[in-house]
Symmetry: D2
Subunit: 386 residues, 4 copies
């Protein structure tokens, strides 16, 4: 098992030139040596590799999964063999998952690499006395940054918390290039259908939506964009997309991809208006973008024609196909972001963890930006290692 | 098992609008009723669907697989349940495969829908007396058409043989649109790597190469093209690709895709020139495009970092990655052509079979073209059913 | 005057690497020395340069314009100064133009580089005795090749006539790359309007139409294609264009470009269906694609808002704008094909003329193909001089 | 003369749907009636149209040119006939130009629509007592906004000054879509060269550079990007461009377009490294991006092969071509931004002027943002009038 996990980690390492370089330079200065670092990530190969990099830099790393369903036991076995302490098992029940997070906290981390502020919140709640030992926290997600700001406004952040999510190398690249490619990779592999000539409706023209529209057009789909903000909508128009209201797009579209960050973007009236054969997928923040209850309400029965595809049969016998149960389609029905994209994101995290280990509370308290010069350094390293 | 196969067939049917329409119109005229039709195809859902369409049109269909490794038992079970007689089992040994083909011939087919002329050749060799009962043959592949022309020149084709492969709706669409999309779909899903910014070397600028170049550029790769014919090379240049000799491309490229139809396009000198981390795949006619022996000779050891990826480790420790063992990457590491592309190809085959059933030897003898007006009719049907 | 013409010729020469190379290699072998060559071309700098290349290779060149309106006196003055005999004046009346062509014939040409077979036809009609002295003819246009085939079928072609038009380096490159770029260059410079987001209707999806569609999409227009042949139409669909019937496109389109080769593609019913503000241009073979009489019939008055734009005001006060009077918009309102495209076309002509001078009637009689190996040689030279 | 100017204005009006709509709605409320508005713009048709819109809304408009060389007398004659008072003549000497601006100030404007803060600065310097009558200023350019902020920091801005330049509908659209299209339109019309396959070096990957890169790639050029900021450079890489240092690009490039906003981006060492035939143009802020003195120093002589092209002949006889003397190539050798882009920019200006007329000093003092809701309203109007 550990062998299989190891092979996966090696593939990731071979395609993570920036983390490799940082490991040999900045991270090798000893600042992380002996520092207790708790890492919360999806424990599949790409994300687990961050834990390994920190461990090799001398940190005493304890890893927890951010979700039992994404933990791969082969990967955790490989991590364990390389000296990372892991509290995670695939598919474990909620109570066990909770216990694992608390066990992680019991290691009295000095630095937390967090996801959704899950570990930080629990530490403050259950073991507040350990906060004094914290050099700081670095946070990967938008949601987590928002929670940390809440804690800050309540006066509970006595340590530095780096908003890694807001680094250019994190949000500017994964949304556009990562989401664009991996979403269509997943949709095409799942459906085995042709994109050329297909009417693809992209809902939302933020960074994700732009990435989706560009990839779809690049594969010769016809791109329809629905966007409420007229300035973004006019950009979509000038980018060559057909801009129209969502209800109208529902009547004409063939493949719908939601990327708005809002809830229940697609609901009953939309499903009713769609043609038979319409395919619905979500590439946005959460599975709530698609109103699943409304879709179920419309169906007289459902079918499972292929893995990750559910057909909702309407009264007239026509079908609407839902991909990956409305979850983020590139993760739930694919392999998620490309390795090189995670290399950028996790370079931000590694440098943030290093910075906290080196300077700790001297950085200040509360939510801090990731330094722009480090952002540029990562970009430069990526360019040099092409 | 049959249930699972049936679900797959339904998905294919739902995305085969042209075959569906032809089934309800031209194929419903009774010409196929009671006619014995032997079909040789890859027995996975997409291709098996053709057998089902002919059976529903009244033909007495006997199906053989064109390769034991591509036969899916769930699909054959579903076919059997719908009245198609199947001689095929997944992974059976060569002798059994041979016996199955001969058993198929023993049904005394009136029409053969052939792949590589495999059944036709065997019938002429083993049961020549059955040739008199043949209304005709329709052939799917370039190789098969070449074999039929050989037979014709030897005076052995006393029946009509339609070169379905040469129809515009067959070769014009699957090479460009089918290969372009499905090759990258397979490569990206297999490697989980980023295409944007990657230097992709397309070897050969025929229809397949053009499809590959267009898809790669559409996903923001930088496309390098190697092509010996200077006219095609100049087209590639004017299409925005970087045109250069193969040895030079080997020094610069990151992902190599062969689509030439020639043998041993990539050999020892090329592998020696490639950078560490280079990835090699084949999207061309046969696995012979890539000289596997030369690649193996170069390696001190091999590794298997992910499914369908083999790493050849060179003396200096650097690696060259081979995808899908040099087989056609979109089939061996993916799901092959999109359903809608096969809908076009198999509409040609279905109309050819129907034509042979209806008119038989009145069509003439020897290799015949697929009628241009039927080609146009299929295209028109596809446009109307968008 | 000659000075200004000379500067223009130098610019052309500097951007004609293939002709430059051929002048120094193949054309320098003496075969053209002392041979009387009559050239019929548009006498502007790009096309006049061919005459100069032949003259420098030793030929005794006599040049006529193919149309008085395109003759530039500065260019003919420069040609004259370099030893080319010119029979052409800008804007001369038809009788004088005719006299000039006949005077050209009176030089008893051994080789004719013809356009529309204009000189060849006149020679056979007015001075048939001179046909004996002809080593042969090379013809630039589709129309001219058709006329030569007529002559051949009437038994009047006793000399070789090379169909230069049919060379790959002629028809494959100018239609796609030349027409695509130069048409939009002319339309945008003439109208000063934005292409991004505009609904551009491309009528006809032949080589010209493909070039137009690709350029329009490349500048972020939304491309609508009207094409009667369903196979080409399906290609347009798979290339990402919106395919629809012309009447429907008329109701939605904003800019219409005809490239069909057929007459009266756009007529009264179409103009009546168009929105106010619609713009109509022709990029096809002749000005007859657009029915001007029907457009005039619709208008209560006309206006001239900008050079090369005529507004036809309909009864309701709305306008349809016609560009360049329906003439080929890239020539009539622009500078025609890019220099590098003409470098390819005229390299074909120069090698054809050279071939006729060297081998003459030994090549055979009647309409001959341009040799494929010369085609490839030109392409290779272009690639090497990038 | 006025007739010709009038026709040009009508063309602009017909393609300015947003300004037309605003004229009929917001601007028609009487707020501008009888208000003295001084407008400083380039007095060609597109920009002059703004003055006309304000005059039709009831304002007493006085117009000055922002540069004598861009003033078109036909346009000013047409403006005058419609009741706009004009102080501008084409090509007048500096002293007269200065006198015209002062004469404009003497009308005691209540609202100034300024360009580069030229009128505002002079009013404060020469007629400070008139500042009391000012309801406010709206400013079109980056430079002008900077000057106004200077005045503000010196305590001299007692009135509101709207930074129209910073509106999304101004800077987000003209740089990307306007510059992208119009720059290539101008370069292609000026040079008559082929873009397909050409190595185009875009210097600077800001909004302008992105627009240039996208348009160049869309016309099948190969795009090389030089950018100092590694984050932007990595974006260019992921957008499919070849990213490399400027000196390296100089050795390989064929067409160089500067869009950095910095001075002397291209200097002696760069010109020395370029291949013969290299073409240099500027699409950036000012003509200073290209070091003209260094280019002249390199040349043994210069030539003028075509209008707007100057050839600098180096000692070895090879040439570097400079377009439009290093001035903004889309304006100096073309018609500037497309009409629809100016429709957006001037809709911002018109609403800003209206806002100042209606509310004046109640808006506050100092430099103010253009309200986001008006920005969105303009975008929505543009979308509705497609």
């Amino acid at each position: 098992l550990a062998e299989a996990g190891q092979r996966k980690l090696v593939w990731v390492e071979q395609h993570s030139p920036v983390l490799q370089r940082l490991a040999a330079t900045r991270l090798a200065d000893g600042a992380l040596r002996g520092v207790r670092v708790s890492v919360v990530v999806h424990l599949e190969a790409k994300t687990a590799y961050l834990a390994l990099v920190l461990a090799r830099a001398g940190a005493i790393v304890t890893a927890s999964g951010s979700n039992p369903s994404t933990t791969q036991d082969a990967v955790t076995a490989a991590l364990a063999r390389q000296g990372v302490r892991v509290f995670a098992t695939h598919g474990c029940p909620p109570a066990e998952f909770e216990a694992q997070l608390l066990a992680n906290i019991d290691t009295a981390p000095e630095v937390i690499v967090d996801d959704g502020a899950e570990l930080t919140q629990r530490l403050l709640r259950h073991r507040p006395e350990l906060a004094r030992g914290l050099r700081g926290v670095t946070e990967e997600t938008t949601t987590g940054v928002a929670r940390l700001r809440d804690l800050e406004s309540q006066g509970q952040l006595e340590f530095p918390a780096i908003a890694a999510n807001d680094a250019a190398l994190k949000h500017l690249f994964d949304n556009r290039y990562g989401t664009g490619q991996s979403t269509f990779e997943a949709i095409l592999a799942t459906t085995n259908l042709l994109l050329a000539g297909r009417r693809v409706v992209v809902i939302g023209y933020g960074w994700c939506g732009r990435g989706l529209a560009r990839a779809a057009a690049g594969l010769d789909a016809r791109v329809l964009v629905c966007e409420l903000d007229p300035i973004k909508a006019l950009e979509a128009h000038c980018d060559g997309c057909t801009v129209l209201p969502l209800m109208e797009a529902c009547r004409d579209g063939e493949l719908f991809i939601s990327a708005t960050g809002a809830a229940k973007v697609l609901g009953g009236a939309h499903y009713a208006a769609m043609r038979g054969g319409a395919i619905v997928a979500n590439a946005g923040h959460s599975s709530e973008e698609i109103d699943l209850a409304a879709l179920a309400a419309l169906a007289v029965r459902t079918e499972k024609p292929r893995p990750h595809i559910e057909a909702f049969v309407r009264e007239d016998g026509s079908r609407i196909y839902l991909l990956a149960g409305g979850e983020l389609v590139n993760i739930a029905a694919g392999d998620g972001h490309p390795v090189e994209i995670m290399d950028l994101s996790f370079s931000v995290q590694a440098l943030a963890a290093h910075r906290l280990a080196a300077h700790g509370r001297a950085l200040g308290r509360g939510v801090l930006s990731f330094p722009a010069e480090l952002d540029r350094e990562i970009a430069a390293a990526r360019l040099e290692t092409r």
